[in-house]
Subunit: 337 residues, 2 copies
């Protein structure tokens, strides 16, 4: 899934080039490239499918040249994750009726890719010949209020039944979850075989299944694009969590610790970048003097001098500049207007 | 005098385009243009002479098209104000032996230009037919430690004898000067007739006079530029204050109040710009949120959002960006290296 528009990281990330297509950690690989890289021990590039906005198809192709162009599926309109996943799974099923599938966002970070591959392969082994749905649950390291949680049921296996999905909690609730020990972060990574997910969508989200059945008549024909453009936007706008996960049976989770971050905030970006002795994370040419705890990302300027900033975001790209306290990063969305 | 390289206002001002050539107050006129504008009631543009670095000759000509190109005198090397003034006065004297002259920096601010013209005309009336040297003394409004002071002798006239020139004082001394009431700021504006200043330089700075006599043999010939390039750099590097003012006789001052600022610091720039309700002075497109007391000057960026800054300089030009506390602006010179 690569359709995000990256508004939280403006102006580093913009609708013309959102976060998943940026090397935001300064590693030389973009987030979507790193996502593919870590999947290669699990699945060859020619078996990877990308659903993205029509405007990003070329960018995906440039960044992931090993993924077949025909596997880059354009969404004519953003309809949240359920229609996005249905589109890919309906299409895969037509040619690969026994496919075993991993669904993942393209803009998260995984530090321990060996453990990641082990976890994903364990989940795939479970779903290969069962109707289990496996969602990856990240062992929480802090009482984060920005993620949904998965309550884990008792099990002697690595893969456990899900007792309940929990919405983003307030701080007190998050602290309880952390103390209880049987709550995991929902990372939005799902594993299932293609029959399981298409059946679940048909059962719990028949409107979307109906649209997909209609579109599927034109899959792999010259009419496909026109049909997608006409019918895809008629899908209900709903997340896979609401549409399926909270309703379906045989929902499982695999507790995982592989250095995951959704990089959903400048704060999490700062936490995952290498920092100088004063806690500044700098990508670009900036020279810092008496600065502490800043995250700095510049790309278009030739020389940048920062003095006396503590816990600030400084981001510049394409003629746009933001200086904002890290503590107020939630305001960035409104600044772009 | 237009040879300054404007290093204190980096990156708004750079050696390629220093302060005097910038519209730093956002008025639509650069400082050198405003300097000429306020002199026009005193002296027509065709009688104005500019001494500047060779690299700025074209810029002066573009900004001041009414000043004859032949009146823009290039200094091949910076030698402080005494050689600069000598160069212009020696050259003026050859064709205008009775010239009455105002010398002024080109990068200061005057708010009350009517009073400025009155003061300058009063000084010119004094020097037209006497060997008086008149320096304009600004009535101090605060115990400024960044300027030299002029101690005024007793007089019943508007133009008073100078008792002494005082170096930049420490704060305690500046406070005494302010309390005493007979100390003025030295604004570097001088009035004299051409005989008076050339005689004074000959008497008190014979090395410079000797170089000028040699150069003068080639004034208004095709050899002038080559001779200037060869000989001007041999002049002693010294200010007119040290070379002449502190030694010559008949030194006078005219106490003046015409809203003067040398705009020598970001702080003084901030003080002279119009400000929003939170005391922010903004030139350019920047949008400020919860900012106070900032001075912001951007020119190359398309969109700038600043959040949560108090008493900062934010300056951007030509691919260079500075964010710096106003209280640390003295560090800016070293940041440019």
């Amino acid at each position: 899934m690569a359709g995000g528009i990256g508004s939280r990281f403006w102006p580093m990330s913009t609708v013309d080039c959102p976060k998943q297509f940026l090397d935001i950690l300064g590693t030389g690989r973009t987030l979507i490239q790193m996502t593919l890289d870590r999947l290669l021990p699990v699945c060859p590039a020619e078996n990877v499918w990308i659903v993205t906005s029509a405007r990003y198809v070329e960018m995906v192709h440039e960044q992931l040249p090993d993924v077949p162009m025909s596997h880059i599926l354009p969404e004519p309109a953003a309809r949240n994750t359920a229609p996005c996943i249905a589109y890919a799974c309906w299409k895969i099923r037509m040619h690969h009726p026994h496919a075993n599938i991993v669904v993942t966002p393209s803009d998260a970070l995984v530090l321990n890719t060996t453990e990641y591959a082990r976890v994903i392969n364990a989940a795939l082994a479970k779903t290969a010949d069962s109707d289990a749905i496996v969602t990856v649950g990240i062992k929480p390291s802090r009482p984060e209020t920005g993620y949904g949680y998965i309550e884990v049921g008792a099990s002697s296996e690595e893969i456990c039944p899900v007792a309940a999905f929990k919405e983003k909690p307030d701080l007190e609730t998050a602290q309880k979850y952390l103390a209880a020990g049987n709550y995991l972060w929902n990372a939005g990574i799902f594993v299932w075989n293609v029959d399981t997910i298409t059946d679940a969508i048909r059962t719990h989200s028949p409107q979307i299944a109906g649209v997909m059945d209609e579109i599927a008549k034109d899959f792999y024909t010259e009419r496909e694009n026109a049909t997608i453009e006409m019918l895809f936007p008629t899908c209900e706008k709903i997340s896979i969590d609401y549409a399926v996960m909270e309703k379906a049976g045989n929902i499982n989770t695999i507790p995982a610790e592989f250095g995951w971050s959704d990089l959903g905030t400048w704060g999490s970006l700062h936490a995952n970048m290498s920092k100088d002795a004063d806690g500044n994370a700098v990508s670009g040419v900036a020279e810092l003097h008496e600065c502490k705890g800043c995250v700095v990302h510049t790309s278009g300027l030739e020389k940048v001098v920062l003095e006396g900033l503590e816990d600030y975001i400084v981001a510049e790209k394409g003629g746009r500049l933001l200086v904002c306290r890290l503590s107020n990063e939630q305001k960035i969305k409104e600044f772009q207007k």
